[in-house]
Subunit: 185 residues, 2 copies
């Protein structure tokens, strides 16, 4: 079967429950609204192969009007420091999250970039594009190898045509990307 996906039901949320645990247990300090939005982004993220925690972090920020600090993110989502740190870094790298204002101490506040277009662009660039590039190179190699193969002419012809078609597809898909990105305004 194709890509599986966990069906998340939005669990309700109690406002302030276990804020002080040594290590959080999947705790949810989220409002029902926030939980639902987080669910949306977890799903979207998984569809693009991103870890669940990334989707959670982005979703929480997306559902917040104020900048959130590292701690707040961690405790509300019940994630480990490591996950939050890595998640924030990755999200900042693709421009999905942005630093917005300093808190006292060495702390910073984070905000979701809600402009979807550059975000989609970055994701596609990071996932599809590399594969297209790699694939094109491999196809060129394969075309070369086909020449060295000792095959009946008819077979060679058939295979050469298949490779051509695939190459065309790659080219087209490559050309399509910028267009798609532009379309998602």
């Amino acid at each position: 079967m194709p890509v599986p996906l966990s069906a998340r039901s939005a669990t309700a949320a109690s406002e302030f429950s276990d804020a002080g645990r040594g290590s959080a247990e999947a705790a949810v300090d989220l409002s029902a609204f926030q939980a639902e939005v987080v669910g949306v982004f977890v799903g979207l993220g998984q569809a693009m192969g991103l870890p669940k925690s990334y989707g959670e972090i982005y979703g929480l920020l997306f559902a917040s009007t104020q900048p959130l600090g590292f701690n707040e993110i961690q405790s509300r989502l019940g994630l480990s420091k490591g996950s939050v740190s890595q998640g924030l870094r990755a999200l900042r790298e693709i421009g999905a999250v942005v630093v917005a204002g300093d808190f006292p101490g060495r702390r910073e506040g984070y905000v979701a970039a809600t402009e979807l277009r550059p975000l989609a662009a970055a994701l596609l660039r990071g996932t599809l594009e590399p594969q297209l590039v790699r694939g094109s190179a491999q196809l060129k190699t394969a075309t070369g190898l086909l020449g060295e193969e000792n095959l009946p002419l008819a077979d060679r012809r058939v295979l050469a045509r298949r490779l051509d078609k695939l190459q065309g597809w790659h080219r087209k898909a490559g050309g399509l990307l910028p267009w798609i990105i532009k379309f998602l305004r």
Copy 2:
């Protein structure tokens, strides 16, 4: 580092160079040409979240002019019967592989469907579309929940606008799919 996602190195799976990994006695029954084509499809498949074995099977068939039997597929790729069986089934379900002619006994021959368009369509339908549908439903729920949330008016406004934008994005992406599929001729 960057966005994770499956980015297998898939470097030229040269013929005999894989004396490494203890696991699979992987596929050494392939010509250099076949190995390279298999690599292309393993990569493409992984980019869409398909198991490696699916890509291998499809790739092998794509690189063959004759129908291949179950056994041939299994032994050339060095996969288990189970993997081949499941892989073939999934590939047939999305129309990527087709039964082509019977061999003696209970055996059948398999061929790759080389028409890329319906194939891409099936894959997108199976992966992105369900997520878009689910996401839309969740967004509707979220919009409802936002109403019940006790928030300053300004905040509620901001969030409502964000949800709207996201919903628009979903709609647009949904509308885009058929178009993309049509474009990949």
